[in-house]
């Protein structure tokens, strides 16, 4: 565990407070210099020599959310009372813990040569979401379970299946109807009169409301975020699903596609390539190690941490295409889904295994996930995908 470095008994309250803010920042709270000034000002309003008062005052000032509220007391004690100098795991990035729980053999791969000596602390030190989640460094992390042979995705896509998958995806995208906004905007036709404009225009006509303007509720396009599992257990369905993703991206709806096995990657741009074969070639480069182990929880957490703020809003439907077989902690999966759930409108899990007649959701991951899903639907063939349309219309 990394140790919070204290400025060796910094001089004065301001110095110590700066240290405290830095300590909180290092533990995942987003605070800036403004907060330091605010904290000092707040202390001037209370009896700052009373630790209880100082604690309460700083808590209400510096804590941003319920999660921080629960952790604040420990962080406060750790800094001001030296109660354990160990840095806590960043709760903002629970996937860090998943990684740390892996055998040490894997750890050097996560190190990325950042020079952090302790293996457990490596992902925490420089992570802050970006490099970790996006893989922008272009290096994919190898795990022991990954297949070493590169699988060419081109052989998984032929013209026929692509055409059918596109058709299926298009009907699905159409089934997810645009919602009406609850706000009104000015419009050429609409049920309500825009009194403001009418009155303004009537001034020019001596107060006669001659020109009638209207307001209507504009449609709000729904968005789709598809997150597809390409791990070993999903290999047989990959052909269908990749074609399906390509279809979704091409369908004209606002869609975003991600692939994951032990690592998450955004493939929207690769799929948007008009040349199907080239798209497939780019995909296979990106999905190097395709067909290896699975880390659903970690991948989803990385998704929320990295892309979540941009990709998810109240009009997003999240599609997860996976069989739910995964080695990571089912509780971590539940947490990740709960976080997605708070930001997105619907979560739909498309499960190829659910098409089997005797399927029951017994895998721990699926069991943990089910409470957070709006629908858990079968999808093992193109026909099954095409048959989903009425289900989607209901969402």
């Amino acid at each position: 565990m990394a140790v919070t470095r204290f400025p060796a008994r910094a001089s004065g309250l301001a110095g110590r407070m700066t240290g405290f803010i830095a300590h909180l920042r290092m533990n995942g709270l987003r605070l800036g210099p403004q907060e330091t000034a605010d904290a000092l000002q707040a202390l001037s309003l209370i009896d700052a020599t009373d630790p209880g008062q100082a604690r309460d005052a700083l808590a209400s000032l510096l804590v941003p959310d319920a999660d921080g509220w629960r952790r604040f007391d420990d962080l406060f004690d750790a800094y001001w009372f030296n109660a354990g100098k160990e840095r806590e795991d960043r709760a903002a990035n629970p996937h860090v813990r998943v990684q740390s729980a892996r055998p040490t053999l894997w750890q050097p791969h996560f190190d990325d040569g950042r020079g952090d000596d302790s293996p457990g602390g490596a992902p925490e030190s420089a992570d802050d979401g970006d490099g970790e989640a996006e893989g922008t460094d272009g290096r994919l992390i190898a795990t022991r379970t990954q297949n070493l042979t590169r699988r060419d995705l081109r052989e998984l896509m032929d013209d026929d299946s692509l055409a059918r998958a596109e058709a299926a995806a298009r009907t699905l995208a159409r089934a997810i109807r645009d919602r009406r906004s609850r706000r009104r905007k000015r419009a050429l036709r609409g049920p309500a009169l825009d009194m403001r404009r009418i009155l303004r225009a009537s001034l020019a006509r001596g107060g006669e409301p001659v020109d009638l303007y209207r307001r209507a509720r504009p449609p709000r396009p729904m968005q789709i975020v598809a997150i597809c599992d390409v791990s070993g257990s999903m290999t047989v369905y990959a052909r269908v699903f990749l074609a399906f993703l390509k279809g979704l991206i091409d369908s004209g709806t606002r869609a975003d596609a991600y692939l994951f096995h032990t690592r998450l990657m955004r493939v929207t741009d690769a799929l948007r390539d008009h040349d199907t074969l080239r798209a497939a070639a780019r995909l296979s480069l990106m999905a190097e190690g395709f067909g290896g182990g699975t880390d659903i929880a970690g991948s989803l957490t990385r998704f929320v941490d990295g892309y979540g703020a941009k990709a998810l809003n109240g009009r997003t439907i999240v599609l997860i295409l996976s069989d739910g077989y995964c080695s990571s902690d089912p509780r971590a999966l539940a947490t990740a889904l709960a976080r997605i759930r708070r930001k997105a409108r619907r979560i739909v899990w498309l499960n190829p295994l659910k098409g089997w007649r005797s399927y029951a959701p017994v895998a721990a991951a699926i069991r943990a996930a089910e409470p957070y899903l709006d629908a858990h639907l079968p999808a093992n063939t193109l026909d099954a995908l095409a048959a989903l349309e009425p289900q989607f219309a209901k969402l």
Binding site: L45, I46, D56, P64, R196, G207
Partner: protein, 288 residues
């Protein structure tokens, strides 16, 4: 004035606040910053604003948020019908005056503008901010940092006195970081046994001490169960009022009434089934 005086003042106004919450309120008043309250439903987030307005002896202006809330409902709207009438009337007497038409006389003030225009700083309660959509939240940022509103026809209205702003949320969706940064924060949770007893005593001082203890004990036990809707403080007070109104002095003596009045506490059929008579009897036996 420090936060403990505020705490006892609030208690006199009928609100029992924890030390940390009192400190948050105290800082919100002194620093002039908005206070964001989060927590489960029914723990008295809205009541804080009422008690605070009571204590400061000022107006409480409330804005209830909902999906699709827009400027014309939150800030201001022109009174178009009256404007049309005024044009007619002015025509009859010869000539219209446009500047007159867009004056305060024709302005319908909605809560936010209302709060800004007050001479004495009011308490502005923005309730369930997480229900409003992102656009409104972004708009609110400007008002909360500068306390001014721009009306194209009239110009910018600056706050005469900074209102004390209380925002409440219970997690329907995540709030933006920008909004959180501008606010002080306090998480209001279900009260512990002593606090809840103090609340009950503050609200219903005539209640028999034994019954009060039983009520609080049972409610605390019920909250630990897996329920769809965990009963809040409001439900607890309703239940207490029902029991005392029906003349119950000891729950163990009147199991029938207790069962019948559970409708105050458990609001869904599934929760109702989760607390059959035997369970309730056991709970009462435990706390008695």
């Amino acid at each position: 004035m420090d936060h403990l005086t505020l705490q006892s003042d609030l208690k006199r106004a009928g609100y029992v606040a924890g030390v940390r919450l009192s400190m948050a309120l105290h800082l919100a008043i002194r620093l002039g910053r908005p206070l964001l309250l989060e927590g489960p439903a029914g723990v008295g987030k809205t009541e804080i604003a009422k008690a605070l307005a009571d204590h400061l002896d000022t107006r409480l202006i409330r804005l209830q948020c909902y999906e699709g809330l827009d400027a014309s409902h939150a800030i201001y709207e022109w009174n178009y019908q009256r404007q049309l009438l005024a044009i007619r009337a002015a025509e009859a007497s010869g000539g219209t005056d446009e500047t007159e038409l867009f004056s305060e006389r024709f302005l319908l003030k909605r809560p936010l503008l209302e709060a800004i225009g007050q001479e004495i700083p009011p308490v502005l309660l923005i309730d369930e901010i997480d229900r409003a959509d992102e656009e409104f939240e972004a708009y609110l940022l400007e008002i909360l940092s500068d306390f001014q509103i721009t009306i194209p026809e009239l110009g910018t209205v600056k706050a005469k006195a900074r209102p004390l702003v209380i925002l409440t949320a219970n997690g329907t969706r995540d709030l933006s970081d920008a909004l959180r940064r501008r606010c002080l924060y306090s998480f209001v949770d279900y009260p512990d046994r002593e606090t809840e007893l103090a609340i009950l005593n503050a609200r219903m001082p005539d209640l028999e001490a034994k019954l009060a203890r039983q009520i609080v004990g049972v409610v605390q036990a019920i909250r630990r169960e897996e329920l769809e809707k965990t009963p809040g403080i409001a439900e607890m007070l309703d239940w207490a009022a029902a029991l005392s109104g029906l003349g119950v002095n000891d729950m163990a003596q009147a199991p029938e009434t207790v069962q019948a009045t559970l409708v105050c506490l458990l609001k869904t059929a599934a929760d109702r089934d989760a607390a059959p008579r035997e369970v309730m009897d056991r709970l009462i036996g435990k706390v008695a």
